[in-house]
Point group: C2
Chain length 447, copies 2
Amino acid sequence: MKNILIFGAGRSATSLIEYLIQHAETYNWQVWVADASYELVMSKIGNHPRAKGIHFLADDTQKRREYVQNADVVVSMLPVSLHNLVVQDCIEFKKSFFNASYISNELRSAENQILADNLLFLGEMGLDPGIDHMSAMKIIDKLHAQNAQITSFKSYTGGLVAPAHDTNPWGYKFSWNPRNVVVAGQNTAKYLYQNKFKYVPYQRLFAEAESVTIQDKGLFEIYPNRDSLSYQKAYKLEQVPTLLRATLRQKGFSAAWNVLVQLGLTDDTYQLDNLSNTTYKEFFTSFLSPEDALHGEEILEQVHHKFQLHWHPQTMEKLTYLNLWSDELIGLSKASPAQVLQHRLEQLWKLEPHETDMVIMQHEFEYVKDNQPYRLTSTLVQEGKDATHTAMSNLVGLPLAIAIKCFLIGEIQLTGLHLPILPEIYNPVLAELDKLGVRFKETTQAL
Amino acid sequence: MKNILIFGAGRSATSLIEYLIQHAETYNWQVWVADASYELVMSKIGNHPRAKGIHFLADDTQKRREYVQNADVVVSMLPVSLHNLVVQDCIEFKKSFFNASYISNELRSAENQILADNLLFLGEMGLDPGIDHMSAMKIIDKLHAQNAQITSFKSYTGGLVAPAHDTNPWGYKFSWNPRNVVVAGQNTAKYLYQNKFKYVPYQRLFAEAESVTIQDKGLFEIYPNRDSLSYQKAYKLEQVPTLLRATLRQKGFSAAWNVLVQLGLTDDTYQLDNLSNTTYKEFFTSFLSPEDALHGEEILEQVHHKFQLHWHPQTMEKLTYLNLWSDELIGLSKASPAQVLQHRLEQLWKLEPHETDMVIMQHEFEYVKDNQPYRLTSTLVQEGKDATHTAMSNLVGLPLAIAIKCFLIGEIQLTGLHLPILPEIYNPVLAELDKLGVRFKETTQAL
């Protein structure tokens, strides 16, 4: 019997846990799920005989090491800051490790040790990063095999709300960590456009969102991700003139979000004290200047005027919906502006139990083959079942779960530190995802 | 004989060194000046019998400790990051310490030790911080003694170019560390306005500069400093409804600087590699978006259009003057955008040897005394003699030099860690500054 140990039973772990439990009998696995909330663990594993819930904090070193020692493979679905605790245990006790987060420098520095011990450490094995790598690499490898020259690669991913439950002016509800949404983009974005580097600082990121068309879905908008160039080499695209990875949102989201950015409401660099008796209105007016109030206008009017929103009624509608100038108490004692904003948004952008999310990923390649230019578009659209069984949880958890299965039954025999860019990984995983209905629509047109 | 040891002979140390040397014979001092550049040291001390130049790097621990051990008082004019090396030596060898920089948390943590050893550590003893503290506290203490209630305190300081040598459209030349000018404001500014906290993020700081009138000098503009509230308690202004510390610039400076900020040219968070063969134009266009170039306009036109500068010819004139779209090579191999910009500005905003700078500091108080509201305005305007004997160097160095003199001859008998907010410090120092022509013009009007 193989013991699979999962740290973290949160939002993104649902499908991972369910898949592994479903296959546990067939492959003779025992699935251990550890979380700081025992209730949460039990809600995810029920009383399945192949699953065991464990209750402890990830920084309880003694317990953590005890369980890692007894495991065959270890998965971390913990917050990013805690992965390294688990990683260190896995290195010490020589256990293979899987997660869905970016490969950290700490992990990178252990690369030789992992290889020497014949372990597999597979990171970035979720949705984005994860499915994006696999689906893009499959196309890149195919095009390279055909001697095609790739001249442009753009890739967009968005975790959105499904159209049926798109009930607020922002076209957005939280299907993953709200904090990541609020502080998104606070590092300068870098990408490559026609062989020129492009740099977009935070102050301009949301102001300059661009329109894109998603196959069968119509117009959306994108803003560039932190560093599109970081995968240039891994993707074997050293010669590509245009390379852009971006985040996808509903049209109009970024223009309104930019107002929050410009005001300073996404600032996470300092804490506001004594919020206990502070209303949203008092909080909000701290970000208006004395000059804005010179004409004694209502706050709504001040915002309107400050950002010249006369011709942008949809931006104004979004801001009005947040009602950050209400007389309600915030109900936090100490928080950064970003945390206050997050607190408000979690009330307003909550996915209700019966509501569903939608994930969209689209890759756009331009390439030249036999002197003929083509455009290849590959699009994944997935909706969730409800607020627990989200498309997000599915698409983050299933690649991980499938990779663990493939590893345990010997279909993946790699060792070392990897992200899923090799055919040995992406072929079996994408094939099973396809069986489970996670399928890209690919179209190619001559240009 | 007393040994005074000065670390750093740079831009701001000129007047400090000259004052101490001038008074060395009278008070029987030996002045030691240490710098990484022996040439620089010698240019500042000449062959004066009371002065000795020392040549070593501040992080040469052995030499540093050797000289600190032999000193009676130690002054650090080093870059901020190096002060702590000297501070630690002074604590170990029980030497009193003076500098013109903000009191760091490290220094604050040694407070009890300093007091127990009967030492004086005097920080923030330059211009801003320094003269601002002393001149403001003298007024605050006077008003409090008269039972006046201070309702507003605003204080502005600017290191500018003198009108006679104001020969570029920005009205600005460097009289102090250029780097500090380029990265200024990158922390959220905080101030108090009519009992409300106000927060201004970097992205809005320069966009919302306000006009102020300087006595006898006319209109200028200000943008708020990092944290105006940090001195609220030290200034005994816990009850004041409005408290603002700000940086002073010529009218129009901030609107044009804001364009550089919005583009991302002041970004110091990442390095650009391979600049060796890069022109300013190539560098600059990395901060324009592909959409800006869609109409094939010249770069000048793209900037014009991007920031809607049709009605802001003076902003456009300033940007044109920088000519960041020239075909010249930058001439650096690796640098952050901020460092590239600084490199360009150092060519254009250089104070030529015969040119002079100008420092302006103005305090504006509003207070109520016997039910009558008043406004008190206190203004210092100083011009330098040439590019070496700048007003900036004078106003940073003289307060330090005078304080050291007062300490050595027993006119200041305090011990412990201080900034110059006590009458025991500001009275003798301001009195001597006045004799040397450093004098505020104070006017009061009933409102």
